[in-house]
Amino acid sequence: MTTVLDPTSETAPATRERARRPESLAGLTVGLLDISKPRGNVFLDRVSERLTGLGATVNRYAKPAFSKPAPVDLRHEIATTCDAVIEALAD
């Protein structure tokens, strides 16, 4: 962790703003990232069904290993092809 001095006019919050939340999922592409813990796929299968029912297109992704951050190309692919992403964190 590094502490730096803000070079800006400080009129925006110091914490990074979260991406804007969509009003509706209809017509959007939603990525489902399976972190590859056991049975995460079962949970995401059901989430996928529900999202499809709401009119979303679902793309499925999986991390190679739950213990490591998603590889940069996977994050890039999700960021450039999806409007929203849901990551299954739990066992």
Binding site: M1, T2, T3, V4, L5, D6, P7, T8, S9, A14
Partner: protein
Amino acid sequence: MSSDLPPPPLPDGLVAVVKRVCPTCELVAPVLSDLHERAGLTVITQDDPHFPAEADWVHHDDDLAISWHHGIEVVPTLLRVVEGSEYRRTVGWSRSEWEQFTGLAGLGEGLPGWRPGCGSLSVDPAHAEELAVRFSASGLSSRRVETASLEDEWEAMWDRGWSDGLPVVPPVEARVLRLLEGTTRDPSEIVAAVPPALVDCSVEKVAVNAVLAGCAPEHLPVVIAAVEAACTDEFNMHGVLATTMSVGPVLVVNGPVAGRIGMNSGINALGQGNRANSTIGRALQLVVRNVGGGRPGGVDRATFGSPAKVGFCFAEDEAGSPWTSLAESRGWRADQSTVTVFAGESPRIFADEKSRSPESLTRHLAQALQATVSPRMMLGMDAMLVLSPDHMARYADAGWSRDRFMDELSAELLCDADELLAGVRGVAAGLPPAAAGRKVPKFRPGGLLVAHAGGPAGLFSAIVGGWANGPRGSDAVTREITP
């Protein structure tokens, strides 16, 4: 993080601040014990906690808080403290001074009468910056932003939008304090209201952005003067930013400061490779981006932009020029350091390898300058001409002064309006019919800035096209660079 705690108090009476690795402190160790016995001396040791003795009158200044807060620069320092306040001090070892200071005779029998001290650990370059950050509560008022533990600090600068697209140096407090050493101005002093948001920008904010840009402390006064110059109504940084034309602030540094901070006025002066040239112009642009909020696609609407908008700054080669400098032509003295800011494009090259007379070269230059922005655009835009040493030699050999050159060039730049009327030769753009039959100058008086720079070989000069001039556009502005 800065501490808001009050400075640690000194014990009353005689106090000596020492460190074991100082030979003078080692030498006077017996005197310290003697003074404790006879006068109740307290010792503050900076390194070895048991120097000169393992005793309750020896205190370890392990975080150097006492030394830093009480301005100890030399060890040993002997202090007389009365009711928590320092009354007097003496530094180094001098028997006569210590005897007078303590009122005790016979100190340090057998020791040399005098030895200089050593530097205090609290001013050791290895610690001084860190201590200043830790203890000074540093007087810097910028918001502290913590990057996350898994965040790469270089990526974090980019993610927060603070970069022009190239890597920036993370502005940690120690670096900002170090940069501020380059100026005598107070960090809180307001330099200018920076467009487009017209936010008051302090010396400190300039320094934070100068750190981002990669500046060294000695560059800071130039950056401050450039910010002052760019944020004037005359220069109109807002307009320079907002225009669809691809101009940005072009900085020309004149006077003694250029050599002092190692600026390049020679080979590749308008290019990369010199830290001052590369970072000073960039620092100004980062101030506009970060403090003023001027970003491409936001208020910056340039159709193309140009590589020069990352930062364009060079020094005039005054020593190699037979002429008065650009700054002198604008009313400044040769012994003053100045920065001139001009709204300009990237430089383009004018080649003339044949002219052997100043008249021929001047005529040819006029033809090239006539095409600046558009050959049909007259008077509305300024330009900067950077003459190379090889071209300047034509004028030096013929004994032409700057004034002679400007007069002759202006005459060559007086064009027949009939050639430039709208519709002539099938081009819709041009002068209005009312101009028919007249002579029209390309540039308004003072609208062509001429400087001398570049490497010693090459029969080229550089033309920097400008932007709309006058009250609705931008006028070049020169400011003095002060410490």
